[in-house]
């Protein structure tokens, strides 16, 4: 222990107070960390690592390099810009890789992988896979080109060379409608294959419309509940909380029953004679369905923060404004509304964050024009099995959500997040 300088404060057993305090602080910190640790470890394994693993798939590209390992090694000193086909050793390696891959059934997967970049690769690999084992001796190049002349195409070789790296940016390029050209530079995707930017745009646009509608519908009722006596407003609050606590599938089902062509609203309109029997409105399986159902589902998320902010605005503010000569409209716009800005911000960001990642409701009532980015992620995971692209789209969506969340944290603070 260090010598104690005269005049220094010590505890009863002679330890300097500073040391003793630091020790107590460290113990307290460890205790706090120890309490948090179980949950942290649990989430790490069941949630954070899986998400990281999925994000890694958006750049991971070891398949080509692993299956065609001889070819890739032989291609090392081939210059794609030379304008010449790779030499005989590369083709020999390719034949060996195909024979091996045929046994493990892996070359087909490489074909599928490369098909994302260049059409026809899948069939080329399947065809070659069936016939490559018949090639037993040189000249390998001529034999391969005899199986399929595409092996004499420089673009195919440039693609194999480019995708032989362990990591690729091509999924991210595909997710923003870009692609590698055969020469390896980056270009726009062809017109008819440009879907993702439009999809991101549509997701943002629909989320914005839904957020605006929620604000327009949520603001008046929050104001009403905040100004009414507690007993009445608690009753009205039940009407907001009941949908909030009801399963979203139930609410989606309700809207299907209401909005479909033979549904309640159309029947009502036909019965009142507002529309004819032949021109029933199509309000579902399109964009309108998504907007109506999602506005209904997300409205409570707007009302709850708005209400809690409006509740704190003293009514005397408005009375003061009125007594100073403002008419009711001016008083409301100039005095009341600025005070609700925090609630408007919190509610809007919350609704927007939830809306851009929404999956279930658009999948059930969105048809084709009302689907969002989430639906395409699910499509690539379950139907097209292009997991790399699903991961890249997911990563972009996650980045957008996290950016908005940081904004929410700055504005409201996660500690102030309230539930129910």
């Amino acid at each position: 222990m260090a010598a104690i300088a005269p005049g220094q404060l010590t505890t009863a057993d002679g330890t300097p107070l500073k040391v003793s305090f630091a020790r107590a602080l460290r113990r307290s910190r460890l205790k706090a960390l120890g309490l948090v640790l179980p949950l942290f470890a649990f989430l790490l394994i069941t949630f954070l690592v899986p998400i990281g693993d999925m994000l890694f798939r958006s750049v991971e590209n070891q398949l080509v390099g692993r299956v065609l390992h001889r070819t890739v090694a032989a291609l090392a000193d081939w210059d794609p810009a030379s304008g010449e086909l790779p030499g005989e050793p590369v083709f020999e390696a390719l034949v060996a890789d195909f024979v091996e891959g045929r046994e493990n059934r892996t070359t087909g997967r490489v074909g599928v992988r490369l098909n994302y970049e260049l059409g026809g690769m899948s069939s080329l690999f399947r065809k070659t896979g069936r016939r490559a084992k018949r090639i037993r001796e040189a000249p390998y190049r001529a034999a391969m080109i005899a199986i399929d002349e595409r092996w004499g195409n420089l673009d195919v070789w440039r693609l194999v060379k480019r995708e032989s790296d362990a990591y690729t940016a091509s999924y991210y390029l595909a997710a923003v409608d870009l692609r590698f050209t055969a020469e390896g530079s980056i270009a726009r995707q062809e017109e008819e294959r440009q879907i993702y930017l439009r999809l991101f745009g549509r997701t943002l646009w629909l989320s914005l419309i839904i957020t605006t509608l929620c604000l327009l519908l949520g603001y008046p009722i929050s104001y009403l509940m905040a100004t009414l006596p507690v007993r009445t407003s608690n009753l009205l609050m039940i009407m907001v909380l009941l949908p909030f606590w009801t399963s979203l599938l139930v609410r989606t089902t309700c809207w299907i029953a209401l909005l479909q062509q033979q549904g309640v609203i159309n029947d009502l309109l036909v019965w009142t004679g507002l529309i004819g029997e032949d021109n029933r409105l199509s309000m579902i399986h399109n964009r309108t369905g998504t907007i109506i159902a999602m506005t209904h589902i997300l409205l409570p998320f707007m009302v709850l923060p708005l209400y809690s902010v409006m509740k704190t605005i003293p009514p005397s503010y408005m009375r003061a404004a009125r007594s100073l000569g403002a008419n009711p409209f001016t008083a409301f716009v100039r005095v009341y509304m600025p005070n609700t800005a925090a609630g408007v911000g919190a509610g809007s960001i919350l609704v927007f964050i939830i809306a851009i990642g929404y999956y279930i409701t658009p999948a059930l009532v969105g048809g084709t024009s009302g689907t969002l980015i989430s639906n395409f992620i699910a499509h690539h995971m379950q139907v097209s099995l292009n997991w790399g692209l699903a991961a890249a789209l997911g990563a972009l969506l996650l980045a957008a959500v996290l950016a908005l969340y940081v904004l929410y944290d700055k504005l409201v603070g996660i500690d102030n997040m309230r539930l129910g």
Partner: protein, 283 residues
Amino acid sequence: MALPPYTSTLERVWFYTFRTICGLIFFFLIAPLIVIVPLSFNAVPYFTFTPEMLSLDPAGYSLRWYQDFFTNLNWQGAVKNSVIIAFFATILATALGTLAALGLSRAHMPLRTTIMGLLISPMIVPLIISAAGMYFFYSKVGLQGSFLGVILAHTALGTPFVVITVTATLLGFDHSQTRAAASLGASPPRTFFKVIVPIILPGVISGALFAFVTSFDEVVVILFVASYEQRTIPWQMFSGIREQISPTILAVATILVCVSILLLAATELLRRRGERLRGVTPA
């Protein structure tokens, strides 16, 4: 709120217009949930009111969809699975979440904001991304299509709610109360059970309720992580809406609306109790 006598005609008109607008918005919120109740008693397999129903003819109504729900093995299995999965997920989430909230509320928690952010991330990350990540990872380790996998996934999704509600009850907690208990001779466990637990109990229970509802209603992750064996009510409803839409779904929806009314009542009681315990008088 009656209008004072000095209000002008314009204000009077606006007052009633505003009330009407608000009434319509509340109608928009609640009407869809009400409409399905009579529809679920439909005698024919349509999602709409038949002329018999509108004329209140008893022949237009039947309990056949409820009967289908209570006898169909698909649905009964789903109910059983939902309850089992939600039960275990709630217990795990409540235990882990409460511990973490106690740690987060201690005075000397290092990196508080960062850790809090990570712990509530399952609530922030869009469900489709959580589902995708869990699907790939759980398939890799052999948890995909198992009860354990679904329970772990639902626990992860439920913990943020427990963390938030319990942290909220500890927000106004006066730490000198634990010191007072200790100075009066209570051991740390006794202090915990006699002083801290009564304070955080409403938060723990409402967090547990949230975790239960999260698991009970969760539909995105379950579609990816579960197989038919682990089907829950939302899983069954989703495939029902997609494939063969029958009014049984409306009967299930009606039952679920009743369940949420019960849940709503429970949380309201808890909130009042919590406020009373912490000495917050209702405004």
